[in-house]
Symmetry: C2
Subunit: 229 residues, 2 copies
DNA sequence: ATTTTTATTAGACGTCTGATCAATTTCCTT
DNA sequence: AAGGAAATTGATCAGACGTCTAATAAAAAT
């Protein structure tokens, strides 16, 4: 085959690996299966990526950077906005949307499953993919949450972040079960709906908690202007 | 070795398999590794469990039933209680506690990781472990949530359930990352604390939503004590 | 036009895989 | 104490595994 489409072949390998890894994990897929799926000779994978582990990392690298950049860009736009001032739902939206919407496009769903699988893997820390590629973005978002919810203790912000990510991950990775248990009650078909539900739920929860804190400390100090809600 | 500890050997195999499967998944572990970890001859695994898949299922079966029974017993005790009447935090507590506390005891942590891994596996539906062993309990709990929060639309109950399970799973399976990102702000060492945080967060969120519904529908229809779904 | 570099192929390597066998030991029942 | 069932062993099977190497084909550089 011509080498003119060389870049295409390298990409085809990544796409095939992404599909298969997301279904069965790094150990559930053989290099030969990947080669076959990509319509490529086995040795070509080693030529481009070296070992299987390195191929695995390359699959992540291709997708993480665009999503992270979009998330951070959205976040910065929000934080710089003057009116209306940035709110928690905007921050959570910037966290969820680039990811959830990736689901709709090119094999994005596969990639979200891949991430979910990686996070749940005990050997993850050995590979360090999450730590290297995802943690920096996470810290930025947590900081933003602290900024837009100054009344809420930092520990509650952090808990909320982890709960939110957990909910998001489960939703993205096990849509089957959600459908099985909830059927028409939870419509997962439209990304927009899913984002609205999860962002709405968590920002309501966090805002309520912040309001309670505010009124509690207001009560403690003399000028209790009322226990909101 | 004496066959007197025959049942012990069968159990040793299960324990070893549980440890290794939870770390590396069904494909990341070989029968030989399991045999070595259990201090047992390779063929003995096939003797007791047949194929590798069947061993995998047996690992789940051993743990799921006790936890499910405890959950359902707690749930029933709660629902039958007259005063104070059952509240959402009791239901969520019954959902989380038997699982989180399992973490402290015998290799329970490993098992929770195993479940998390299984839920995130696309081939899960083929094996059907989650569907067969976990879904029935899930339905009971969703029904209970609907019962103690009659004002909340069913769809919001379902979303809340999935969010809760997602948060719980992530917390149980990736404690490393939680510590890495939040350090002392999220103390994962005491199970009691973790349960309190997650149960508190979600029951506050759901109760607030229900209260808003109540006042909203109270506003819409005048004295309507609620269009119960 | 010739050399150098980059892509791509075909094949084989030693090792490990899950499964199965007959043979042997241990246990339980009588 | 004998006999049958259950437990355990060591060995072996064909095949799949990831990786490597040498050879070829195409492209780029000179």
């Amino acid at each position: 085959m011509t080498a003119h489409d060389g870049e295409r072949r390298r990409d085809r390998i990544l796409t095939a690996a992404e599909r298969l890894f997301s279904e069965a994990g790094i150990d559930g897929v053989s290099m030969r299966e990947i080669a076959a799926e990509a319509g490529v000779q086995l040795a070509l994978i080693s030529y481009y990526f070296g070992t299987k582990q390195e191929l695995y990392r390359a699959v992540f690298r291709r997708r993480i950077e665009p999503v992270s950049e979009e998330r951070l860009a959205m976040l910065q736009r929000i934080l710089e906005r003057k009116n209306p001032p940035p709110a928690i739902e905007d921050v959570l939206d910037a966290l969820a949307r680039p990811w959830v919407e990736l689901r709709d496009t090119r094999g994005g769903l596969l990639y979200t499953r891949l991430i979910a699988r990686e996070v749940s893997d005990l050997r993850e820390s050995k590979r360090g993919i999450v730590k290297e590629m995802l943690d920096p973005v996470a810290r930025r978002f947590i900081a933003a949450m602290e900024k837009v919810l100054p009344d809420l203790p930092r520990s509650e912000i952090h808990w909320g972040y982890h709960f939110f990510i957990g909910a998001l991950l489960l939703l993205l990775m096990s849509t089957d079960r959600t459908q099985r248990l909830s059927g028409p009650l939870c419509d997962m078909s439209k990304s927009q709906k899913v984002i609205d539900e999860i962002v709405g739920f968590f920002s309501r929860a966090l805002k309520t908690a912040a309001a309670e804190r505010r009124s509690a400390s207001g009560r403690k100090a003399k000028s209790a202007k009322g226990k909101r809600r």
